[in-house]
């Protein structure tokens, strides 16, 4: 037998049943679609979902049973960043123009949208994971590959910077397309 698989099986407590690929899909398939569609256009989301599923299939034995979703989001985040790096910004923009109209046509909260767009990539991702994926700081830490403590501090600081932007920005100074703000993207500050 593969010793690595022995080890991972031993590391699991009796209460944590080994995670099967079908369990992972049942838990994460729809949330992963949401995660990707929140951050990129549909065509890219489909491409990246394929990469994500491949990684999950290969590494299903490594997925912790008590953190399936954050672990899957972490994979999706890396795959999306890779895809965007590989594809280049121009092609991505062209694709988006050819894609469906942006879901956020008349944002309910333009000041907040603008402030969010003015944040750095990591701050923005922390806040999205917190408010959109509804993750706790510990889970955000899993996605970002940092400790729960560090994630709490990141979240606190991101909120502070968001408040600062909200306090200084003026109404009507509307930011860029929110969906364009992807991990590793650089069209943030406008």
């Amino acid at each position: 037998m593969d010793p690595a698989r022995h080890r991972s099986a031993d590391a699991r407590s009796a209460a944590e049943a080994p995670t099967s690929f079908e369990d992972v899909l049942a838990t994460a398939y729809v949330p992963l679609q949401r995660y990707l569609l929140r951050r990129t256009d549909r065509t890219t989301a489909e491409d990246v979902l394929g990469d994500v599923l491949l990684v999950l299939w290969r590494r299903v034995d490594d997925i912790p049973a008590d953190a399936v979703l954050p672990w899957c989001y972490a994979v999706a985040r890396r795959c999306l960043a890779n895809q965007i790096r590989a594809e280049g910004r121009r092609e991505r923009l062209l694709r988006r123009l050819a894609d469906e109209p942006a879901p956020v046509t008349e944002p309910a909260d333009p000041r907040l949208l603008d402030a969010l767009a003015g944040l750095g990539d990591t701050d923005r991702e922390v806040l999205r994971l917190w408010a959109w994926e509804q993750l706790a700081p510990r889970e955000i830490g899993t996605v970002l590959g940092i400790s729960a403590n560090a994630a709490s501090i990141r979240l606190h600081r991101a909120l502070g910077r968001l408040r600062a932007l909200l306090g200084t920005r003026k109404d009507g100074d509307r930011g860029g397309h929110l969906l364009g703000q992807v991990p590793g993207g650089e069209e943030a500050s406008r």
Binding site: R38, L49, G50, L54, D109, L112, L116, R163
Partner: protein, 198 residues
């Protein structure tokens, strides 16, 4: 502006382009299935899993990986086998369904041979190998049954003494069903010839 954290979280959530109340139009199911098939095909060489795809929700079921199915030692079909190679039948799994049969998937199989069943006992089905397509050179292949009560059945294939079959097996030494093993029909023979040229 001095929102509480909870207020800010609610305001941010209101900007969510995929809010929980809105059911996202799923990414094309056909596309997802292609992705999964490709994932399984590509990963077969790195992950030791049989090739099975559940029909519902594009979920993959894994069958036939139980330790009881293994013949004990690693069959290592690509290493110099003795004159008899031991393989095993997968455990019956009624909930599993198959990926569609494709020659390129067949070509990926690490073990493939044509043989005639010479003996069926409580414990095993014995094949006299007529031709190795890949993964071995043994004269005889012994396929262990899951237990003595199960018949010599693989999916819709019932092995019968004297019958000629084309057989593939995974790296784990477990026979592949789903049309990737079966009676030596002209169609399957042609598919094997195409998958394993030369």
């Amino acid at each position: 502006m001095n929102d509480s954290d909870a207020d800010l979280r609610a305001r941010l959530a209101a900007l969510d382009p995929m809010p929980p109340s809105a059911v996202p139009e799923p990414l094309a199911r056909e596309r997802a299935e292609q992705i999964l098939e490709a994932a399984m095909t590509e990963s077969r060489s790195t992950r030791r899993r049989p090739l099975l795809l559940a029909a519902a929700a594009a979920a993959v079921l894994v069958a036939g990986t139980g330790a009881a199915l293994l013949t004990g030692d690693d069959p290592a079909p690509t290493a110099d086998p003795p004159t008899a190679l031991e393989l095993a039948l997968p455990a019956p799994d009624v909930s599993a369904s198959c990926v569609e049969f494709r020659v390129e998937y067949l070509a990926d199989m690490p073990t493939a041979f044509a043989g005639t069943v010479t003996d069926i006992s409580d414990a095993a089905v014995t094949f006299d190998v007529e031709r190795w397509y890949t993964g071995g050179s043994a004269d005889v292949v012994i396929v262990a049954k899951v237990d003595s009560t199960t018949s010599a059945v693989l999916d819709a294939v019932t092995f019968a003494a004297g019958g000629e079959y084309l057989v593939t097996a995974s790296e784990e030494g477990v026979l592949n069903g789903c049309g990737f093993s079966g009676p030596a029909s002209p169609e399957l023979t042609a598919a094997f010839a195409e998958a394993f040229p030369g």
